[in-house]
């Protein structure tokens, strides 16, 4: 390939190489992200069952969606899941990271332990927690029995089911937030704390006025990633509850999956996908725009 470029100007050649090395990525953008994104918008205006070709139905899918209580239920469940699992894993993660951020022996070992749940898959962790949650023979009810609580019905009751899924989510994300926050904490210059100590600042004030602002970029980005990730919660509900009981763990991706692949309503599933994309894109853009106000950057 190089030979054919030889007689061209160097600048020209660099352009060709630049685009050339991008070819796989551009194909990927076309066939697996941007293309499908646009196609999803088109399909959302059609009725399509895979066997019967697309029929243009205008806004019918969207009208149906806004009147579909299950659509709102699945958004609500997704929001509740996100609203609990993200802050919980952040707060607990930050607390543990603060504890770990000192030069005691064995810290590396604890770090390895805390990160382990991240590596085992969502399916396996969903299953092992389903077993822990078992109302009859599960370990959790047995433990709670000792402190005089329970027995809880966990995954088998509509009122505790989503909470149980949130516990699994926090358990998995915890290691990640701990490691992220640890890295953030270690990058805070010691001198800042020393200066504050000279000025007579106590522990809480140091935490509030040094640790939190210095960590704010880390907090911001792990919130952003955490929210985007937990909006996509699917595997847990698929293996643990199948969306039940009584749709109490029906999440938005599960709803899309169900409509698209169980009922083969491609048009309707696409309309819901478009709502999902809109929320993610708008949410991310808004958060990034307000970043300057929320986050303290040095210099």
């Amino acid at each position: 390939m190089n030979v054919s470029f030889r007689n061209r100007t160097p600048k020209h050649r660099e352009t060709l190489w630049g685009w050339g090395l991008m070819v796989p990525t551009l194909l990927g953008l076309f066939f697996f992200t941007v293309g499908p994104f646009l196609v999803a918008i088109y399909i959302s205006f059609t009725s399509w069952s895979l066997f019967q070709g697309p029929v243009w139905v205008g806004l019918a899918n969207y009208k149906k969606m806004f009147h579909d209580p299950l659509f709102w239920t699945s958004w609500w469940n997704t929001a509740v899941y996100t609203g609990f699992s993200v802050p919980l894993s952040m707060i607990i993660g930050l607390g543990i990271a603060v504890l770990l951020n000192r030069k005691l022996r064995g810290m590396a070992f604890f770090r390895v332990l805390f990160f382990a749940p991240m590596t085992i898959g969502v399916v396996a962790s969903g299953l092992l927690w389903a077993w822990m949650f078992s109302p009859q023979y599960g370990l959790l009810n047995y433990i709670f029995h000792f402190v005089g609580l329970g027995p809880f019905r966990w995954l088998t009751s509509a009122s505790t089911c989503l909470m149980s899924i949130i516990i699994v989510g926090v358990w998995r994300a915890l290691g990640f937030t701990i490691v992220i926050f640890l890295a953030g904490l270690q990058s805070i210059p010691e001198a800042l704390y020393d200066a504050a100590a000279v000025d007579g600042a106590g522990g809480w004030r140091k935490f509030r006025h040094i640790t939190i602002p210095m960590l704010s970029p880390t907090i911001f980005f792990s919130t952003l990633i955490g929210v985007i990730m937990s909006f996509q919660v699917f595997e847990q509900t698929y293996v643990m509850t199948q969306g039940g009981p009584g749709n109490s763990t029906l999440t938005i991706i599960y709803f899309i999956y169900q409509n698209g692949f169980s009922y083969l309503r491609m048009g309707y599933a696409s309309a819901v996908s478009v709502s999902f994309l809109l929320v993610i894109v708008m949410g991310t853009t808004l958060l990034l725009r307000f970043q300057d106000r929320l986050v303290h950057y040095e210099n």
Binding site: E14, W17, M22, M132
Partner: protein, 303 residues
């Protein structure tokens, strides 16, 4: 002038209780030991909460079928038995699931490394018109999760008759991965341009500059990206669930869900299957934990 240990002890006291303890008190050896001791105690407690579910999974897998249906549950198996493992491998093509996962994940990892390094190199080292636009487009795709476009991709795959094959899982990896491009871009940016320029004067083309200068200089990033890609691919479940229905082509993630979906499955079997599916990952993590942590947190840290 304060000495370093003293400053550390000051940090310790505030972290521990949130309120200030007087200096003289903190300076005593006993107080310091007390704080260290309670920190360790707390850490062990948290570690137990985090790790015990995994241990519980392994313990359960060694129990006999009858023992998982008693209350109160036994902590250690009364008799360590391989019966659950035997049944899982007898009733399900579990070796095949594992082999499938392994082959798919290797292919996905290789594809991601090749395509991401090409794109990242192009973004960092080459100057050409349209570069910023491409970069923004890649940035944008981070916001479009697979789940949101799975319906059109499914239709697309049906049209090209790729359903029930591994192509929908493997081919996208060879066509760039936004996360991988970012990770490598961060590292490539730290490599002095002059190295590449010098090689160019010696007659090296861009491909050779990428292979012989950029890649060797960012070995740890490749290791990190490789390990994380492998783990994520191994754990990926939604895509194979949609695209692969044939039991003999399933990766272990879907195989596990499938096994769980069979009403006849007993908890000790499910835990045995889960343990088997997790062991390769835990081994990998144990060997390359540095790279796993690095890969999973890298893009995060370099914002």
């Amino acid at each position: 002038m304060r000495t370093k240990p003293e400053l550390e002890s000051k940090k310790l006291e505030f972290n521990q209780s949130g309120k200030k303890i007087s200096d003289s008190q903190a300076r005593t050896k006993f107080g310091k030991q007390l704080i260290t001791g309670s920190v360790y105690l707390l850490l062990i407690l948290v570690a137990l909460v985090v790790i015990f579910p995994i241990i519980w999974m392994v313990l359960t897998s060694f129990k006999l079928e009858g023992e998982v249906q008693v209350y109160p549950p036994t902590i250690l198996p009364k008799a360590w038995s391989l019966s659950a493992y035997r049944n899982v491998f007898k009733l399900y093509p579990f070796w095949l699931f594992l082999l499938n996962s392994f082959l798919i994940s290797i292919a996905v990892t290789v594809g991601t490394l090749i395509s991401s390094s090409m794109a990242a190199f192009s973004l960092v080292h080459l100057r050409f018109r349209g570069r910023e636009v491409i970069f923004l487009a890649i940035l944008g795709t981070l916001m479009v999760p697979f789940a949101a476009t799975m319906v059109p991709i499914f239709i697309e795959m049906a049209k090209v008759h790729w359903l029930n094959t591994w192509y929908p899982l493997i081919v996208p990896a060879f066509l760039g991965n936004a996360y991988g491009i970012f990770l490598l871009r961060q590292l490539f940016r730290g490599i002095p341009r002059e190295l590449g320029e010098a090689a160019k004067l010696d007659g090296c083309g861009p491909l050779r500059i990428l292979c012989f200068i950029y890649v060797p200089l960012s070995k740890s990033a490749f290791a990190a990206l490789g390990v994380v890609t492998f783990i994520n691919s191994w754990n990926n479940m939604l895509a194979p669930l949609i695209f692969v229905n044939d039991r003999n082509k399933m990766p272990v993630s879907v195989g596990l869900a499938y096994l769980n979906g069979q009403g006849s499955s007993i908890w000790s079997w499910i835990m045995a299957a889960s343990t088997v599916s997790v062991v390769p990952l835990l081994l990998m993590y144990a060997i390359g934990q540095k790279y796993v942590v690095m890969g999973m947190t890298m893009t995060e840290r370099n914002k």
